[in-house]
C-alpha cells in the first residue's frame, strides 16, 4: 500500500543574550559547572524571576520574520515535572497564550517551493545538564544552562518527507542566523529539534498515530531518523500491528529509534499561569521598532540576487543560505561589478577549498577585495583565466594580493601578436603529421595545438589570441 508521511517539528533555539531569561547570570558556554547560577535559577524559595526584555524582543523578531501574528498579550505558565536537571520542579514556559502564532516559512526542495506553517513560537527557559557516569548509579548535575533563554518554534504537520524536514530546519536556522538571535549550532545544542512523525494510507485525510523522536543532534541525523522511523511504522502496520503513541530516542550509532518507556505519567504537566510573572504586553510601537531594525532576510536577498543581479536561482540559493557567505559575495561586488564570475569563483574554487578543510566562509583565506582584484586582472587581460586559478591557490596559501603574486612569478599574460605567432609557427613546424590530419578534416586537433602553445608558454599565452591565430595559420 502507498503511504503518506506526516511530519511536524519542534525546534528549540537558544537566544544570543548575555544573561539568562529570568536572572542576571551569564549564558556563556563552557564555564566550569555551577558557576553561572544564582538563587533564581537554582529555584531557591522566595526568589522572584524578572523577565529579560531582550528575550521578548528576540522572540518578536523571529515572529515577524516568519510572518506570525504577534499576540499583544502573552503569559508565562509553569510546566510541572520532576527531573534532576530542573531544580524548581517546573519549567517556566508559555502555554495558552504564546507570544507568536500562525506564521510560515517557504522552503525549496528539488526546485519546488512549499509553504510550511508555524503553529506557534513561545519563550521558555532551558534546563540544566546531566552527565551520566559510566559504571556508577549516579549522575552529575550542572545547572549553568538552567534558565538560558529559548524560543520553541512549533511547525504545523505540513512536512511530507525527511528531505522537506531538512529543508525546513535549514531555512529556520538561516533566518535565526540572519537575525543574529541564535548561533544555530546543532552539535553544541543551541539549535535542537524533536520530530513528530506518522504515516497514513495515501488518499486518507486522517493522520495516523504519531511517534515523537528525540536526540536528533544534527541535520543528517534528523533525516536519517525520520527515514528509519517511516519504514518502521510501515512495517508495524503491514505486519497487522498498530503504531503506539510514544517518545522514541534516535540512536545515531546503531541507526535505529528505540522506545522510551514510562513517559505516560510524565506527560501530565499540569500547566498553570505562573503567578511570579506578569503578562507580557507588546504594543504597536515596540513591534514597529523591531520591524524597522530587521535585516534583509534570506528569501528577500535571494530574490534580489536573481532579479537585480541576474544570478540563477540555484546560485542565489547557495549564496544566501548563509548570511556571512552572502555578505562576502556582496563585499566582492563593491569593487567589481560582474556578479556571475564572482558567484562562480566563490561557489567553485573558494567553497571547494573551504569545504575540503571543513571550514566556513568566516575562515576564508582570501579577502573579498583580493578576489575582486583577481577577477579584474582576468578581465583586463593581464592574466588568463587558467593562470588565475594558480594565482588563487597562491593567494589562499600565502594571503598575498593577486597583483603581487602575478609580478613575483611573472605570470602576466602573453598578448603580443608577433610573439604568439612565432611560437605557433614553431609548433606547426614540429608537428607535420597533426597539421596534415587537421587539414584533412580532423578539426578536433585544434585543442591539441592550443595545448602545445600553452605548454610552450607555461600557460601564459592569451587563449583567445592563440585560438584565432592558430585557426588562420592552419587553414
Amino acid at each position: 500500500m502507498e503511504y503518506v508521511t506526516v511530519i511536524g517539528l519542534e525546534v528549540h533555539a537558544q537566544l544570543n543574550t548575555n544573561t539568562k531569561i529570568f536572572c542576571g547570570c551569564s549564558t556563556a558556554f563552557g564555564a566550569p559547572p555551577n558557576t553561572h547560577v544564582c538563587p533564581v535559577c537554582l529555584g531557591m524559595p522566595g526568589v522572584l524571576p524578572v523577565l529579560n526584555r531582550k528575550v521578548v524582543a528576540f522572540a518578536v523578531t523571529m515572529g515577524i520574520a516568519t510572518r506570525c501574528t504577534i499576540n499583544r498579550e502573552s503569559r508565562f505558565a509553569r510546566k510541572n515535572y520532576f527531573y534532576p536537571d530542573l531544580p524548581k520542579g517546573y519549567q517556566i514556559s508559555q502555554y495558552e497564550l504564546p507570544i507568536c502564532e500562525h506564521g510560515h516559512v517557504d522552503i525549496d526542495t528539488n526546485g519546488e517551493k512549499k509553504r510550511i506553517g508555524i503553529t506557534r513560537i513561545h519563550m521558555e527557559e532551558d534546563a540544566g545538564k546531566l552527565s551520566h557516569l559510566a559504571g556508577r548509579p549516579v549522575s552529575h548535575v550542572d545547572l549553568n544552562r538552567t534558565g538560558v533563554p529559548l524560543i520553541e518554534i512549533v511547525s504545523e504537520p505540513d512536512i511530507r518527507s525527511p528531505e522537506e524536514a531538512g529543508a525546513y530546519l535549514r531555512k529556520l536556522r538561516s533566518i535565526l542566523r540572519y537575525l543574529g538571535i541564535c548561533d544555530g549550532n546543532m552539535e553544541e545544542g543551541s539549535f535542537r529539534c524533536d520530530a513528530n512523525v506518522s504515516i497514513m494510507p495515501a488518499g486518507s485525510d486522517t493522520f495516523g498515530t504519531r511517534a515523537e523522536l528525540k536526540n536528533l543532534n544534527s541535520f543528517r541525523n534528523v533525516e536519517k531518523a525520520l527515514h528509519y522511523e517511516i519504514i518502521r511504522q510501515r512495517e508495524v502496520i503491514e505486519d497487522g500491528g498498530a503504531v503506539v503513541q510514544e517518545t522514541r530516542l534516535w540512536n545515531p550509532d546503531r541507526g535505529v529509534t528505540t522506545s522510551m518507556r514510562g513517559k505516560e505519567e510524565a506527560h501530565d504537566y499540569r500547566y498553570f499561569p505562573d503567578p511570579d510573572l506578569l503578562p507580557v504586553v507588546v504594543d504597536d510601537a515596540w513591534i514597529q521598532e523591531i520591524e524597522a531594525g530587521l535585516p534583509e532576510l534570506p528569501d528577500q536577498k535571494e530574490q534580489r540576487f536573481v532579479g537585480t543581479l541576474g544570478l540563477s536561482a540555484y546560485d542565489a540559493g547557495v549564496l544566501t543560505a548563509d548570511r556571512e557567505l552572502a555578505d562576502y559575495f556582496e563585499a566582492c561586488l563593491e569593487s567589481y561589478d560582474r556578479p556571475k564570475p564572482v558567484a562562480n569563483w566563490i561557489m567553485g574554487p573558494l567553497l571547494g577549498r573551504l569545504n575540503a578543510e571543513g571550514e566556513t566562509i568566516a575562515a576564508s583565506p582570501v579577502a573579498p577585495a583580493d578576489l575582486a582584484a583577481l577577477l579584474k586582472l582576468v578581465d583586463d587581460g593581464t592574466i588568463s583565466g587558467k593562470i588565475a586559478k594558480t594565482v588563487f591557490d597562491d593567494m589562499a596559501a600565502t594571503g598575498k594580493a593577486p597583483g603581487e603574486i602575478v609580478t613575483e612569478k611573472q605570470l602576466v599574460q602573453l598578448s603580443d601578436t608577433s610573439a604568439i605567432e612565432e611560437i605557433i609557427d614553431e609548433v606547426i613546424a614540429s608537428h607535420p603529421d597533426e597539421v596534415a590530419a587537421f587539414r584533412g578534416g580532423r578539426k578536433k586537433l585544434l585543442g591539441f595545438f592550443v595545448g602545445q602553445v600553452m605548454k610552450a608558454t607555461q600557460g601564459k599565452a592569451n587563449p583567445k589570441m592563440v585560438n584565432e591565430i592558430l585557426q588562420q595559420k592552419l587553414q
Binding site: 528549540h12 543574550t17 548575555n18 544573561t19 536572572c23 542576571g24 547570570c25 551569564s26 559547572p33 555551577n34 558557576t35 553561572h36 547560577v37 544564582c38 537554582l42 524578572v50 523577565l51 529579560n52 526584555r53 531582550k54 498579550e73 503569559r75 510546566k79 510541572n80 527531573y83 534532576p84 536537571d85 530542573l86 519549567q91 514556559s93 532551558d126 534546563a127 546531566l130 552527565s131 557516569l133 556508577r136 548509579p137 549516579v138 549522575s139 552529575h140 548535575v141 550542572d142 520553541e152 524533536d194 528525540k214 530516542l249 522510551m260 518507556r261 514510562g262 505519567e265 510524565a266 501530565d268 499540569r270 499561569p273 503567578p275 510573572l277 506578569l278 503578562p279 507580557v280 504586553v281
Partner: protein, 100 residues
C-alpha cells in the same frame, strides 16, 4: 465524593508523594471539599468577564540584559546532599529524558 481514590493516587504519584490508605481517604475528603467549593464559584455568572491569570493589573516587569553576577560555587552547592567535581550528585535516572 468529588474525586476518586485513583485520581488522588495519580496526583500523589506526579508529586512523588507516598500515601497510605488513611492519607488517601483524608486527602480525598479535603480535595473533594475544595472541588465542591469550585462548583459553588462556577454558579457565578461570568459572561463578559475576561479570565484572570493575575490578581494585579500590571504588566511588563522587565530587566535589561545586563549581568548581575552569580553565586560562589561553594554557596551554590551548600545544600547539596552530595557533590563531586563541582556538580550536584543525584541518583541516576534510567529514563534518558531529553531536556526541553
Amino acid at each position: 465524593m468529588k474525586i476518586t481514590k485513583e485520581e488522588v493516587l495519580h496526583v500523589a504519584e506526579l508529586a512523588r508523594l507516598d500515601m497510605d490508605d488513611e492519607a488517601v481517604a483524608k486527602f480525598s475528603e479535603q480535595i473533594g471539599t475544595i472541588l465542591a467549593y469550585m462548583d459553588t464559584l462556577n454558579q457565578v455568572d461570568t459572561r463578559g468577564v475576561p479570565p484572570t491569570s493575575h490578581a494585579l493589573s500590571l504588566h511588563n516587569a522587565f530587566r535589561e540584559d545586563e549581568a548581575a553576577g552569580s553565586l560562589d560555587r561553594d554557596d551554590a552547592l551548600a545544600n547539596a546532599p552530595e557533590r563531586e567535581d563541582g556538580c550536584f550528585v543525584v541518583p541516576r535516572i534510567v529514563e534518558q529524558r531529553e531536556a526541553k
